[in-house]
């Protein structure tokens, strides 16, 4: 099957996700789709699978125009997909999830024997150890991802679209997946593969298309002709320019936040670190390492079961987020801007001033618009926030400007410690640099930042020191030299060796690494 996408355009309120994208997948090829976060990869896949309707452009299947109104139509046309988000029914069994929309039946009733037999067949291609009779909600994240892949395979479709299928599975399972993909390719299937992992992409794909800001930056180039540097510059549009932090020595600064032997209700063990005044302390790890959960524990949102946390030298027991903010001046910027960071329907003014309402309220509890404006407007100027007015609904701003709003509210709140989780996900490269510079600047003003990021260059650009987390434990702590190659190698070695490896490297455990 050959799938052609012609001049597709798609906008969401405030964002142009795709802008004139043309793209072709041929039978018997694996076609990599690359691009930064927010480049439009997932949007393109959702259009091909009938989940979104394009604003313009068209779709051709084997040269014939196709008009999909829903995923049903795409499935019927022989297109199947693994989407980036998890899409399983928690209380259904693995088998049922795999065959959900076409459960086999006998005498009109679902034939569960066949459900499990058939599901088994596809699951076996990747991981025979998963029981098809288990309810999905009992699986690990990686297992769920495998079920998603098996589900897509089970359609035996002519076109298979995989949106970051390897993000949360292990190398072993990824290898099994690649073997299957190669076989399907040999059978003449057309496969689209989205991944941020350059090594994977070069290893498995035949051609690569790069999207940048919703436009095609490299169109179906043979993989052999693309060097790593060419792919990266296609993705970001130029040589990487990074924010300059400059050398700084913060070793004799006072400690503002310390953890000693902290364990949490979610399974963190023996977490220990020190954040100093004005420092950016990086917290690196693969997705699912437990960093976000640690941040939540630090702000009183997850229960700490053992150990001690100190703020400005005094032991604290933070029971709630408001307490973290008001009493201890700790703020947290969520990795999930839309769900947890912002109130999309409310204006910029409210989103920024929310942290200070109580402070600026008069004795009667009244908050004046003028008072809000006096706080919000200077911040908007300082952060170069692009918005028609502070009355604009935040949902209508671009991702980068939304992120600036989340930062602005903490500047307004006057926090001393800011935990920033994945600050630049879905943010374009230019804004990304701006946000990096902003983070650096606030630390110069004396704010201390705990920076969670899965973006290695970002981490190496920004952090003064880097903690490495794996499986809910810290496995390493490194002084950042801000030199990319050696730093990334050291970080990855901590991640791959895990706690044991790290212990061998640093006989006295993570704490001793820095000393």
């Amino acid at each position: 099957m050959r799938l052609t996408v012609e001049d597709i355009g798609k906008s969401f309120p405030g964002v142009t996700a795709l802008d004139g994208v043309s793209f072709e997948i041929r039978p018997g090829e694996i076609h990599a789709l690359m691009g930064e976060n927010g480049a439009g990869k997932s949007t393109l896949i959702k259009i091909i699978t009938g989940l979104y309707r394009p604003d313009r452009g068209r779709l051709l299947v084997d040269g014939v125009p196709a008009d999909f109104h829903s995923p049903r139509d795409a499935i019927a046309a022989g297109i199947s997909a693994v989407h980036q988000e998890r899409n399983l029914i928690p209380r259904f069994t693995v088998g049922e999830n795999i065959l959900l929309e076409r459960l086999p039946r006998r005498h009109g009733l679902v034939d569960y024997g066949r459900v499990h037999r058939e599901a088994r067949r596809f699951l076996d291609m990747i991981d025979p150890s998963i029981d098809t009779r288990t309810e999905v909600r009992r699986l690990s994240v990686a297992q769920m991802q495998i079920v998603e892949i098996a589900k897509a395979l089970s359609l035996e479709a002519g076109v298979l679209l995989l949106d970051e299928p390897t993000a949360s599975i292990t190398g072993h399972e990824a290898d099994a997946l690649f073997a299957v993909l190669r076989r399907l390719k040999a059978e003449g299937k057309a496969i689209v593969f989205v991944s941020h992992k350059l090594e994977e992409v070069t290893a498995i794909s035949d051609r690569v298309t790069v999207l940048r800001d919703g436009k095609v930056a490299a169109a179906g180039e043979p993989i052999a002709s693309m060097s790593r540097g060419r792919i990266v510059s296609a993705m970001i549009g130029r040589e990487e320019r990074v924010a300059e932090i400059g050398e700084r020595d913060l070793r004799d600064r006072t400690a503002v936040l310390e953890a000693r032997g902290v364990a949490t209700a979610l399974g963190h063990r023996d977490i220990g670190f020190t954040l100093r005044k004005g420092e950016i302390l990086g917290l690196y790890g693969l997705v699912g390492a437990g960093r976000t959960e640690l941040a939540r524990a630090l702000i009183g949102d997850v229960r700490i079961t053992a150990g001690e946390v100190r703020v400005n030298g005094r032991p604290v027991a933070i029971a709630s987020v408001p307490e973290a903010i008001r009493r201890h001046r700790i703020g947290y910027i969520s990795e999930d801007r839309k769900a947890e960071g912002l109130i999309l329907a409310h204006p910029v003014r409210s989103n920024v001033a929310i942290t200070v309402w109580r402070r600026i309220a008069s004795a009667l509890g009244l908050v004046g618009r003028g008072a809000e404006r006096r706080i919000v407007e200077p911040l908007v100027r300082k952060l170069d926030l692009k918005t028609p007015s502070i009355e604009q609904g935040v949902g209508k701003l671009s991702g980068g400007n939304q992120q600036k709003v989340s930062i602005a509210k903490w500047l307004a709140a006057g926090v001393e410690i800011l935990i920033i989780d994945e600050p630049t996900v879905g943010i374009d490269i230019k804004t990304k640099t701006a946000i990096h510079e902003l983070i650096a600047e606030i630390t110069r003003d004396g704010v201390s930042v705990l920076l969670i990021s899965s973006d290695m260059p970002e981490m190496i650009t920004l952090a003064d020191r880097i903690l490495v987390m794996r499986d809910f434990a810290l496995v390493g702590e490194i002084e950042n030299s801000r030199r990319y190659e050696p730093m990334s190698r050291r970080i990855m070695s901590f991640i791959h060796q895990g706690a044991e490896g790290a212990a061998e490297n640093e006989p006295n455990g993570p704490e001793a690494a820095h000393g």
């Binding site: 949102d301 987020v321 947890e340 929310i354 009667l364 009355e391």
Partner: protein
Amino acid sequence: MTVADANEAPARRGAFLAESGNLIGLAAIVLIFWVVLTSLRPGFISNFNLFTLSRSLAIDIVIGFSTMVVLATGGMNLAIGSIGVCAVMAAGFLMQGLGLPPLVAFAAALALGAALGWLNGFAIVRSGVNSFIITLASASLYLGAMLILSKAVTFNELPAAVADFGKLRFGGFVSPLLIIALAIGAALIVLFRFTALGREILAAGANPRAAELSGVPVGRVVIIAHTLSGALAGAAGLMLVARLGAAMPSIGQDWLLPSFLAPVLGGTLLSGGAVSVIGTMLGALLVTTIRSGLLVMQVGNFWLQLFLGVILLAAVMLDRYRGKVAERRSLGRR
């Protein structure tokens, strides 16, 4: 471009127009009804009818407010009728049974309403169970407790001042109850527009996670909203006591529909985070007008329910449509 004063004015005007567009539309519908009804039945604007209308309107407005403040948090309160009647019976008992003066009894009854609302909020926040279920259960619980304690006996020997108050008229047809309802409305406008608490309620309703992570004590705010809802339900009940001159156990059992009609017609979102106080008042006015209008027109009072249902449907669908058009237009501008 960054914030520039030149840009701010039109944008703010835009937001204002969107909100007032709904209100003006609602007011226009009400006006049309009044013109038509008055020309067909001149008695519609007789002092007698205006007075009785202003009294029912007052009560419908406060019932609507009671639901509105919980809708603001994205929750519901199905127990307002039960809370209302508990406050009513408490006031009756305090005045007739214990001989307390009306003001004291009313204050205590309001406090009881607030306490029952607080209990709802507390149960919701503590258990993490949906407010629909909690208040469904507590509605039955409160009503049951009231019936058990009161044996459903009406208190009908209240101090004359109570009924006299209900009968007062200003300017020939304005009930003081309406003035109270408007005063409550003004207080709620101040709450939601100008106080930290009100803003926090809306933030918690629009996105509880984000609000929590921004330092809003969401649990406490939700509890406060329910407490306020309980107090307003109590207030609505007490207004009925003044109107009827008696405290009876049958009050409140048909509040569910009007309590949702007024705020929803007025543009309050069910999903939380946005309220319109004036909209709720206009919504209540529309409902009261239609109800009285249909009766006066002898459309047959048995068909009234049908019309109310259809009007609610039409109104929410219209609102939906308006929202879509507005969205499309704002996209087009880009």
